[in-house]
Amino acid sequence: MAGLLTSVICGIIGTFVVVNRIAFLAGGIAHAAYGGIGLAFFLGLPYIVGTLGFTLFAALIMAAVTLKAKERADTFIGVLWAGGMGLGVILLDLTPGYNVDLMSYLFGSILAVPKSDLWQMLVMCLSVGLIVIFFYNDFLAMSYDEEFAQLRGVPVKGLYFLLIGMIALSIVMIIRVVGLILVIALLTIPPYIAEKYAQSLRMMMLISTLLCCMFTITGLWLSYIFNLTSGATIIMVAVAAFFISFLVQYLKNRRLYSKAIGD
């Protein structure tokens, strides 16, 4: 169930991450989230509250910097990336009686998601879905041609913050499944493969959701059979699919090329 919800989120948000080329920014958000995890434990807050609050905060700072000073944004994201991680580790050190399995946040533990978290995930999933449906064409225009969207009076800046906020939200959710190290893979691989076959953004979202679902189920099944870490197995399935699609594309191009030469 957690995997299913994650797939929907990955499909929708991942698509925006790929077409807007902000995978690095998403990576920064994911790692900064670790600071949030540390904070949640240090203050004894529930995971979602602490992590989400901190991650949203870090993400919105990153969004503001990307809008203000594009050419320096990558450095700044790198700093927040590392800073978030460092803060998380220190806060966990300082937490008395700390004995949570750190690995479960780094690599995820899809099978150990409590029921209460599941409800929160469902709510988040629905809100992201509704926001995207409402602003679908605005987001489409912003992603494709920001300047033109701005000329049409689309509130581009507001939408950008909204998008980054939604990315932060999704990352916090997906961390439960594959862990923060592997979040980026699940967020970018399915949309990347889907982009080649999709005729529209809508279709790209649908295909990546299905792919993500497939990777999660296959990964879980393999990890069960061979007794492996589930998050890592899911990602390895995705990476394998990525290379297969790459190879297929390459062979297809070569065939087209030799055909063209033959003519």
């Binding site: 033109f148 969207a149 689309v154 999709a198 953004l201």
Partner: protein, 253 residues
């Protein structure tokens, strides 16, 4: 004379401390067909973006349709120079054109039936209706440009601004685009940035040379001097069916 469509007075603009445009003055009237020429980096695109309200001037005044550029932006149809920015983006021709029908502000962004009809009509105007469901990426440069012109047209613009619409288009495609523009010019004011003044010479009504300063030539007269400016090398002037006309020299040159 009727009211100016674009009115620029004493405009200055600098970027990173470097002056890009100095003391620009010009006025454009209704149903004008202006070609903007000048060397790369001379400030042509910058001037367009100032008119569109995407950039803010340091000094001086721009009025577009009697309004501040930012307020008037939705009354201008804009065809940008870089249409290949997002090459792999999964989007169909019709979806690109529909973008021109987006409503401003925060509202449900769903496209209605009349948005689709308007987009269909715009595509027919540029003779691209048979490609409406195709991926934009599959089209040739000229066909893509026509799609972007259609996108600008569905906004029902009073001014159409095109930034080098024929830069990556073959000769046949160029002729097609110019014919489309000529037809459109019966209703709307057109401002086009272009390097090939020759191809345009029978359509344009006025010329502006942009190279930090702007020299405006009210009547369409193509001189060797202007062509040299456009190509940055001496060329022989051949304009079919056009008598040679001589422009008066730029003031102060």
């Amino acid at each position: 004379m009727d009211k100016p469509v674009i009115d620029i007075k004493n405009l200055w603009f600098s970027f990173n401390g470097e002056a890009v445009l100095q003391d620009v003055n010009f006025t454009l009237y209704h149903k004008e067909f202006l070609a903007m020429i000048g060397p790369n980096g001379g400030g042509k695109t910058t001037l367009l973006k100032l008119m569109l309200g995407l950039f803010e001037a340091d000094r001086g005044d721009i009025r577009v349709l009697g309004q501040n550029p930012r307020q008037a932006a939705h009354r201008i149809g804009y065809v940008p120079q870089d249409i290949h920015i997002n090459k792999n983006f999964p989007i169909s021709v019709l979806d690109v054109v529909l973008m021109g029908r987006l409503r401003s502000g925060i509202s449900w962004s769903h496209h209605k039936k009349d948005d689709r009809i308007a987009s269909q009509l715009a595509l027919e105007k540029v003779e691209m209706e048979q490609f409406k469901n195709r991926h934009v990426d599959e089209l040739s440069g000229g066909q893509q440009q026509r799609v972007f012109i259609a996108r600008a047209l569905v906004t029902e613009p009073e001014i159409l601004i095109l930034d080098e619409p024929t830069a990556s288009v073959d000769a046949k495609g160029q002729a097609k685009i110019y014919t489309i523009l000529k037809d459109l010019n019966e209703k709307v004011t057109i401002l086009v940035v272009s390097h090939d003044l020759l191809a345009l010479s029978s359509y344009i009504k006025s010329v502006a040379c942009v190279n930090r300063r702007v020299h405006f030539h009210g009547a369409a007269e193509v001189t060797e001097e202007m062509l040299e400016m456009a190509y940055q090398c001496p060329v022989e002037l051949i304009a079919h069916g056009l008598p040679h006309r001589v422009l008066r020299a730029h003031n102060g040159d």
